[in-house]
Amino acid sequence: MAVPVIDVQDLRTHLVTRWGTVKAVDGVSFSVAEGETLGLVGESGSGKSMTCLSLIRLTPRPASRMVSGSIRLDGDELTRKSEAEMQKIRGRKIAMILQDPMSSLNPVYSVGMQVREPVSLYHGLRGRSLSARAAALLAAVRIPAPETRLRAFPFQMSGGMRQRVVGAMAIAAPPRLLIADEPTTSLDLTIQAQYLGLLEELQHQHRLAMIFITHNLGIVSKICDRVAVMYAGRIVEMGPVRQIFKTPTHPYTRALLESIPRLGARRDRLTAIEGQPPDLARLPGGCAFAPRCPQAMDRCRAEAPPAFSVAPGQTSACWLHAPA
């Protein structure tokens, strides 16, 4: 098999806060191939965003530290690079779309300036060719009248359109890996579908590897090839989307899928997951989900389970699935 675009092994990122040391990313491993979309699913605080910020080394400073792990982009080890080298990777090789379009764009500069910036930075274009390329990018994300739009300001645009602009900036290089951090969460439902379609098209065009962060399983089923379910900084289950949805093996994944209200299903009450999300500064030893797991065993509380293979391409970090 070809070298994956991004290969992460045992990534650990810790945050020092006034409540203690938070293990935001606690031993995460995954890989994404060209043209493939990996969904990163989990509740708030599960470490999805932190993991991706760690890839480009933009975790909040000075509190955060990447404690250990390896990140390989097309085989190239990123953890050993200097800050100057990482700045060349950001945007050019790995691009990211942030969640809230209303605050992602700088309010005091025109859209044109903000789109021209990466193009000039990555390709060294100037003057008319720079503007032409910027307009072309806006056209690629299906913004009408792109030349006029270059002179507009963010406050003159709707959320959906701003998110497209952010998308245009993201494919300016084009990058090898595109990380989308809940890009449609703040958009209207009708716009959401359009945007997802746009992302798929761009991915296809530029053969991007894509990581899609979301807490919405519906989106996962539509756009992702594989999915990794995260909990308390760890990946608890990972595998092809269809497989996971059909036969979830980890208790947390199962609980997640069950808690989705379904139209037409015969049910009197909504099922919720028992308990509270964990305090990441005070994780219990052993499996992080154990306090809330209906199938927790003594072994779970004592020792954190590694990832076990439960089916071809599917892994689950649960003692239930340890080989007998």
Binding site: L15, T17, P60, A63, P278
Partner: protein, 299 residues
């Protein structure tokens, strides 16, 4: 100005941004500032008891005695004497009364008036707001000292004049800030709910808006006391403040002006007093702001 988005409080489970451990937000009490402020207030109130001598007592034989730790100093005048032989310690103690009174009274008046204007302007909005803000801006840009000088010459220098002159201009600052706060609050749901429940303007302003601006008021109030003390001292320095024979730190500094290098304590000690007191109020105000509402960092 575009309204600031209101952020909801987040659970201490950091997902994106974490506070670095070193940033102590409030928490530790500011002992130094509190101590100085408390000392200042106590000294001012208990001046008659604490003062070792009558501040107006002149003794031409005893002129320019240095403080006790210097050569030629005596225990009778711990901080030395000025050019008329008056005891420095007593004058400084009595001077604190003037500063404290001026600071507190002026700020209270300005707060009361300014907050009212701000609340009304923010609540009614529209034309009322526009007119009030124009008046506020115009007021805010009038130089305080000019007004005080004019009053001093018109009606004669006095404590009342100082308070009036400063308060008349200071309220505008409060009005601006409170109005900004009210505008943000008005956008929140609980105001709309109060309206739906039938609450009238007075009720909304006093019951809902005002209590939510208290934090801001307290911070601003504390920070302005220091400013007022400095202005009052400047006025006394120019001769437009508290008239003699009442000891005021500003006029004491003016008297010692020519002797800064020889009898430095005549100007130096009152100046130090001002510095310490104002510093304490400013630090206290900063701490209050960090504790009560860091969003007020712009103050």
């Amino acid at each position: 100005m575009p309204a600031e988005p209101v952020t909801t409080g987040a659970l201490p489970v950091p997902d994106v941004q974490a506070q670095p451990a070193r940033e102590a937000r409030g928490g530790r009490l500011p002992y130094f500032s509190l101590g100085i402020v408390a000392l200042f207030v106590l000294v001012a109130i208990l001046a008659p008891l604490l003062s070792p001598a009558d501040p107006a007592d002149q003794s031409l034989r005893n002129r320019f005695r240095p403080p006790v730790w210097m050569e030629g100093g005596t225990a009778k005048h711990l901080l030395g004497t000025d050019r008329l032989g008056r005891d420095m310690l007593s004058r400084i103690i009595w001077g604190s009364r003037v500063s404290l009174a001026a600071g507190v009274i002026t700020v209270l008046i300005a707060t009361a008036f300014g907050a009212s204007v701000g609340l009304v302007a923010g609540y009614y909005g529209g034309r009322v707001d526009a007119v009030l803000m124009r008046v506020t801006d115009a007021t805010m840009s009038f130089p305080v000292i000019l007004l005080a000088l004019i009053l001093a010459v018109t009606v004669g220098p006095s404590f009342t004049n100082v308070v009036v002159a400063i308060a008349v201009i200071l309220w505008a600052r409060f009005a601006r800030v409170i109005r900004g706060q009210v505008l943000t609050l008005m956008g929140l749901d609980f105001i709309a709910q109060a309206r739906i429940a039938g609450a009238g303007a007075w009720r909304i302003i006093t019951r809902h808006l005002f209590p939510n601006t208290l934090n801001t008021l307290v911070v601003l109030l504390t920070l302005q006391i220091g400013y007022v003390i400095i202005v009052e001292a400047s006025l006394s320095f120019l001769g437009a403040g508290i008239p003699p024979p009442t000891p005021a730190w500003g006029s004491m500094i003016a008297e010692g002006r020519e002797f800064v290098t020889s009898a430095w304590w005549v100007s130096g000690l009152p100046g130090l007093a001002i510095l310490l007191v104002v510093l304490a109020f400013n630090l206290l105000g900063d701490w209050l702001r960090d504790t009560l509402d860091p969003k007020l960092r712009q103050l």
